[in-house]
Structure formats: C-alpha cells, structure tokens
Symmetry: C2
C-alpha cells in the first residue's frame, strides 16, 4: 500500500472538503483542532468533530493509530488525526497530556510563535529553550505517545526538544530557511538534527513559507523537496501542506492574535496584506496532491522515493509514535532509511 498522507491542514471543514479528500485519494490527514483554546474550548472543538464523524461516516473517521491509515484505504475513507498548534489546550496541567491523548490528540506544538509555558516561539526576540515544565511535558508526551511538533518554535527550543525527547520529533509544516528565509522556516542545523534522530519534516505549501510566495513554481518547490531529502535523509520528509481551505480572514487573525494582545499582530502577513495569501496555482486543495507527486518525479526522484515523500514516511512515523513508550527513558530505534 502506498498511502497518501498530509502532515497538516486547518480547513473550514465541510462536506465539500471531505468529498475533495476522497476525490484526491487522501488516506489520512493531521488536522489542527485547536490553537489558543483552553482545555474546555478544545473539547468543544472535539465535539464538533464528533458531529462530523457522526454525519459523514462514509467519508471520514477519527484516526487513533497507524493501522487506521490502512483501514481508511480499505473502507474508502479519510482518517482524521487530531493535533494542537499550541499547548493552551493542556493549560498548566501535565495530567491533561494523557487525557488529550485519550481523546485522540496525536500531535501538539510546544509553542505557537510566542513564548509558552513550555518553550519559546519563533517570533520571540530571545529563545531560552525548553522551560522546566517543558522538559517534564516532553517526557510525558514521550510516555503516552503524543508527538512533539516544533513547527512554530524557535531554533534553540527546537534543538532542545530534539535532544531531550526520547522519541522522534516532528516539524509538521515548514520549509528550509536556506531556501526561503521566513522566521517560520527551519535552518539546516535543525533539519539535520531532526533527520539524525528519526524525526519528520512536512513540507508546507503555505505561500509565506515558499520562495516567491504565491508565485512559487511547482518545479522550485519540488527541487527544494529533493535537496532537503538529500540533507535530512529520504526517510525523514513528507508533505504538510498547511492548507487553510475556505477559511475567512478572521481565522488567520485568531491564529496570530488569540487572546494574547489587544492590538493586531500581522504575523507573516502585513497591514497591506493581513488575510490569507492566495495559494500557488498548482495546489488549491485535496485534489492536487497528484501534481506534487508528478513534480517530484520530474526532478528525477524514483517511484519509491516519491511514495516515501507522499505518505510512506508519515505512515512509518505514525507506527512508532502514537502508542505508549515501550521503554521509559530510552530512545526508540531510529527509523530505517
């Protein structure tokens, strides 16, 4: 089986998008269910998902373990894996790590741009690495099988998390800063450390992460993927589109501002362009993954490597990441490359 897996989406979910996932043959998606929401607010978001699962059982179901990817393929549906882009959902309570995992959370970012209780975000002037609580939460996430996602974290915090974590870490949606120097993109130092420890990078298609923004060409993108696979190892890269389909601009404001400021923070945007940027013309939604696969083949990548990037690597990562730790305190064997 060659699965098609997207490492991150945050769409304005609807039957239309679920049907587009099926039309695009998407077997599994890591979806963001919460940003700055408290635990109780996050549970309300889970309740919304439960209603979608109840209403559209022929299109989607909640993914809990890697085997749900095969189940999705066998039953012609898309497995939805929950993730958080900020640790607000666990509040100041380490016991919520296990509770959220029981509710199906499979990824949690330690920060979203700003300093959190756990680590420093990529927009802070100073990055002080993992906090005291951050180290405790990393160990607890390792124990229960909740993947540490450093997509929006600062360099030092990210390197700290990679070093401290006993299990491989993910950067579900970002690109190399050597290709496009956005604050959200990652240095070669980070990417190398990630690859060496069996971690995963999901390549973003969000225009602010692309060289040339919305005008970035498919060839440029795929060349970047191929070069980064050489840097990190072909077994450590996948797709993480950061697709925010059909979202109104009020949502990108919530993502950037939450409740932490009374002013407007434009994040990767600007006063002149505060909303969601236009997607590149070669990727508008879940029916367009085939174009990326075609683009990768055009760079000279062989079929096995294209399959690895489009889903096999995420599947293998899911297999070793979502269950309880087998041996407390020891790093699990590195994924085969």
């Amino acid at each position: 089986m060659t699965p098609l897996i997207d490492g991150l989406q945050y769409a304005n979910w609807s039957e239309k998008i679920f049907r587009e996932m099926r039309a695009g043959g998407v077997d599994a998606v890591h979806v963001t269910i919460t940003y700055h929401e408290t635990f109780r607010e996050t549970v309300l978001n889970i309740e919304r998902w439960n209603r979608w699962f109840e209403r559209f059982p022929d299109l989607i179901f909640q993914g809990l373990s890697a085997s749900d990817v095969a189940r999705a393929r066998q039953t012609g549906r898309t497995a939805i894996f929950f993730g958080a882009q900020n640790p607000s959902c666990m509040e100041d309570d380490i016991g919520l790590v296990e509770v959220l995992h029981t509710l199906g959370l499979r990824f949690m970012q330690l920060t979203y741009n700003n300093q959190s209780l756990l680590a420093s975000g990529c927009y802070e002037a100073e990055d002080t690495g993992l906090t005291r609580m951050g180290r405790e939460v990393v160990a607890e996430m390792n124990r229960v099988g909740l993947v540490i996602d450093m997509s929006h974290s600062g360099e030092r915090s990210t390197l700290d998390a990679i070093a401290q974590s006993s299990r491989p870490v993910a950067i579900t949606h970002a690109n190399p800063s050597g290709w496009h120097p956005a604050l959200r993109n990652k240095s070669d130092t980070v990417l190398r450390a990630l690859g060496e420890t069996g971690g995963m990078l999901g390549f973003s298609v969000y225009p602010h992460h692309l060289k040339g923004g919305s005008a970035c060409t498919l060839q440029d993108y795929c060349d970047m993927v191929a070069r980064t696979a050489d840097l990190m190892g072909i077994g450590n890269v996948g797709i993480g589109t950061d697709l925010c389909q059909d979202q109104p601009d009020s949502v990108v404001e919530w993502m950037r501002v939450g409740r932490w400021t009374k002013s407007i923070d434009y994040g990767e945007g600007s006063a002149a362009a505060p909303g969601f940027p236009a997607m590149p013309d070669w990727f508008g939604g879940n029916r367009d993954f085939g174009r990326i696969a075609d683009g990768l083949r055009a760079t000279g990548m062989d079929a096995d490597d294209v399959a690895a990037v489009m889903g096999c690597n995420w599947l293998r990562f899911f297999e070793t990441s979502f269950g309880p730790a087998e041996t407390a305190g020891t790093r699990l064997p590195r994924a085969a490359e």
Copy 2:
C-alpha cells in the same frame, strides 16, 4: 470463568485497598469518579486515576470493555470501570456524553437525590420524570454505550428511563423498598420493569439501605437477594456494595450537599448521626465477598445462581452495554476499544 464483580464502590482509594481487591479476588469494580463536579473537575479526578494506574500497574488498570474482565483475571489485576453518580460532569452539553465515554465513563446516574437537568431525584417532593434534555441524553447514552444508572432517581423518572431507553438500564446500588423502606430503595414495580427489560440491580451493603441498618444479618441480606432474584429473574441481579471504605465524614457531606445548598442536608443520615454508618460485621471490604457467596449458598441457591449473582450477570451486562449501539445510522466503531 466465574468473575467477581462489584457494581459500585466509592472508596478513599489507596494501595492498601487495591491490595485488598487482589486479596479478595475482585476482578472488576464500577467505581464512582464524580458526584457534583463540573466536566473540568471530573477530568481532574480522571487524572488522579491515571496516576494510580501508572503507579500500580500490577494491581489495577482501567476497564473499557467487557473483555477487560477476563484480562483482569488472566493478569491477576482488578479492572476499574468509571462511573458518575450525577450528570454534573456533562454540564448542559450533550456533546460531553461521547467525550466522557471516550475517557472511559461507562455508567452515569441521571440524578443524585435532587432534580437534575435530566430527571428527578428520589428526595424531591415531586417527580416529573425525564425532562426534554433527559430524553435526548438517554438516546445519546444509548448510542455511545454509556449505561443509564437510576440508583438515586425517583420512581417515575426511573420507570420513564426504563421505558425510554433502547438498551437495558442499571440500578447499580440499591435494595427493594419492600424489604427496607428507604427513599433510596426501589419498589417492586420498578424492579419488575427493570428485570423485564434486561436491566440489572446491584444489591447494596450500605447500612442505610439494609433492614436493621448496620445490625442487618448476613442471612437477612441473602434471603432478600434470593427473594428479589425470584421477582426480577436470576439473570438480572448482582452485587453493588456501595462500599465507601476509609472515607472521612467530610466526603459523605460532599456527596449529600455538593454546592446546591448553604445548609447541611443529612440525606439518609441525621443530625445525631451525620457521618458514614458502620458497615455490617460480615462485610468490611473487598476481602469479604466470599462471605456473601457463602450466605447465598446457605439460602439454598445452587452454584450457578451464586456465580450469576457474584459476577456472571454483570459480565454479561457489560458485554452488551459498553459498545456503540448496533443500529443503522450510528457511527462506525472506534478503532481502539
């Protein structure tokens, strides 16, 4: 396998009690995890249980499905099934029924003595039956596999729930009011309706539910069990001790008063005897179930019937009660259960 299952306990949990469960050969217990607590407070209680599961994995684990009773026996541990004695934990939010079930809740009382959002408690002057929300919640509990427990509900509400529910209902801890006319005990009308619909009664050992209170003899108790089995059907009765071992009297005050009054309500007690009553001398804790089994044999019950009462009936009830409803239109089963 002849399992030993207790249909309700609310002890001041400790390693000592978990070891007594093992010494007594208790395979599974329905434990109360919440009374008047909000959802968030209930989650804090679940976090406490998660710490006990983590600290004492050789003694206890969380039971989620009936097969965990056999797993408990095979691994020499006690399976702990969560329950709520009041619907406070679901607040005013029907979506929390599924969320609480995902967190392992397997029983929920619709009321605790007082009127709730769902039904009338057994201490209210008027019992108006299931409310509008009560009917919706009964259907949702039926859908996900959360058992409706009417132990502390009024007569009309209980008969309503038995009639409305598409799946068998439980009264996990009470006795017949014909034997001992406490407000908490149940009429023959209720018990007959419960038995006719495949429901279960767990016989309480809490002194306020016993004829003669703490002085009730084992023979009196076992004769009552045998007569009630004749009334309801031998397949519809089990044990539900309501054991509140090692609890300080402040806990019985919380159970009775919660946050609904600024005064003291003595519930089944009195100003002269406000605390927990002394247990009968033949049942002090988890090592004493064998005495009840001996007492049942002394009434002339055969070995199969004694086994039915001591656990086989609860096990069969668990088998059909904890999974999603098997009717068209319900969502597909979750992967991990």
